[in-house]
């Protein structure tokens, strides 16, 4: 069985801090996905350095096949010692999901992982092992489709402490909330954002501690094929469309007026262009049987890129981001499919130059498709989505 994951995280910085003292690493090996969350002692720069070092060391060493003992050793040896407290300290959690369905969880001093299956909370047994004086919990198990696993820093359980709640937000209550949100949300990013937002509210929007929620959902693989631009040689049109529509499991997006006309001609399906200008800045979308989404090209892709960039820069992902993402304009629709409903993406890019776009009278440089595609590819990679680009 091939297991695929949808993974995302959201952090809140301690009020007034510019840096977050929690760090998250999301990695892929040939046969697994790894999620690491580290919480450095203190806040601000110091905490940020401690947690960054910890998560990077763990990530790099795990990628290269080091054992947990070796990793912990290295962290203990490497972390700078705090002058105030005389210790070097960062908590961490590691979650590794193998494509075979095997899972490995390691926890050190973070709040326990929340494990949800079939809408119910699953218990994670304690099996503590001591490495270099650190009590570390290890758990090996199997995952199945639909499971959700949530890692958190202790900013979550401290939310509201001494203010709205006497003892903060208890783990059990967070877990209940997570189970409820699990049923309501479709993607890892919405689940992580929902829990983080609840913490922010309990903190009355002035977090007393760095707060991070990282979420992994076990899902089916969801490939997306995106075609944009006509082939530089018109003889390649049919081959390009055949490749683009070649995978029956992949959802299909066409971004481009001329491109969709080509697809329509090759597939012999009529193109129905909407006149509904839902967003004044980008042209309406169109409909074609057999293609999941048809939009205009560069202006829409430019919007998609802006949204994906906002997503990569976690700070601006909150409720208003999802409101934007849920809008029915072409840019939001493409971005939403890529962010929430896609595990890997294949771009089919035509290199033809549209002579009409070489018109200096236009207020926007339309001849930037390849530049956009390149930026799109980089941003998708930053999002942790495997990208393939084929040029025609």
């Amino acid at each position: 069985m091939g297991v695929t994951v949808d993974v995302a995280y959201k952090s809140l910085n301690k009020f007034t801090e510019i840096l977050c003292g929690d760090s998250v690493e999301i990695l892929k090996t040939v046969d697994s996905d790894i999620l690491i969350l580290a919480d450095g002692m203190g806040s601000g720069v110091k905490a940020n350095i401690l947690s960054t070092l910890t998560s990077k060391i763990l990530g790099t060493m795990f990628l290269n096949g080091a054992t947990l003992d070796e990793c912990v050793d290295t962290i203990v040896e490497t972390l700078p010692v705090c002058q105030v407290r005389g210790v070097a300290y960062s908590t961490f959690s590691i979650l590794q999901i193998f494509h075979s369905g095997d899972a490995y969880l390691v926890e050190f001093d973070n709040p326990g992982c929340i494990f949800i299956r079939d809408g119910k909370l699953m218990e994670i047994p304690q099996s503590i092992r001591e490495i270099d004086g650190k009590k570390i919990n290890e758990f090996r198990f199997r995952v199945k489709k639909g499971d959700a696993l949530i890692l958190m820093s202790d900013g979550t359980i401290h939310a509201g402490v001494g203010q709205l709640l006497n003892f903060g937000w208890l783990w059990e209550d967070i877990a209940d909330y997570a189970v409820k949100e699990y049923g309501k949300t479709v993607s890892a990013v919405r689940l992580a954002t929902a829990i983080c937002h609840a913490c922010d509210e309990l903190y009355m929007f002035r977090p007393g501690d760095d707060t991070t929620v990282a979420c992994m959902r076990i899902i089916d693989s969801k490939p997306v094929h995106l075609m944009t631009g006509p082939a530089s040689n018109a003889d390649d049109d049919e081959r390009m469309v055949a490749d683009f529509t070649g995978d029956p499991n992949a959802r299909t997006i066409v971004c481009g007026g001329t491109s969709s006309t080509i697809v329509s001609r090759v597939l012999k399906k009529p193109l129905d262009v909407s006149l509904d200008y839902v967003d004044p800045e980008i042209p309406p979308i169109a409909f074609m049987e057999g293609i999941d989404l048809v939009t205009e090209g560069v202006l829409t892709l430019n919007r998609v890129l802006q949204l994906l960039r906002r997503y990569v820069k976690k700070e601006s992902v909150a409720e208003d981001f999802f409101e934007e993402l849920d809008k029915p304009n072409g840019g939001s629709m493409v971005a939403k499919m890529i962010i929430e409903d896609c595990t890997e993406i294949h771009l089919f890019v035509g290199k033809a130059i549209n002579s009409a776009y070489q018109n200096p009278g236009l207020p926007f440089d339309l001849g930037i498709r390849q530049n956009l595609v390149e930026q799109l590819k980089n941003t998708l990679e930053e999002m942790g989505k495997p990208v393939t680009v084929t040029y025609y």
């Binding site: 006309t261 006149l275 200008y277 980008i282 042209p283 169109a286 205009e296 776009y357 018109n359 236009l362």
Partner: protein, 80 residues
Amino acid sequence: MKVTICIGSACHLKGSREIIKEMQELVAANGVKDKVDLNGAFCSGNCVKEGVCVTVDGTLHSLKPEDCGEFFNKEILGRL
């Protein structure tokens, strides 16, 4: 009568949106909704023209937003 307005990238930048809005209003105001069928289209390959590509029963025109009223009277109402 079939009227097709291009909303491809280049035409969009030249004002497709204004033209569509104005056309829809003109069609409604003149009570010819059942006779004029407004459609969208992606690039027809004539982007080099100065205005937005508008096709009336197969004949291609290049239309600027400010000329909409005159165009409607001449090419659409005038031909009905």
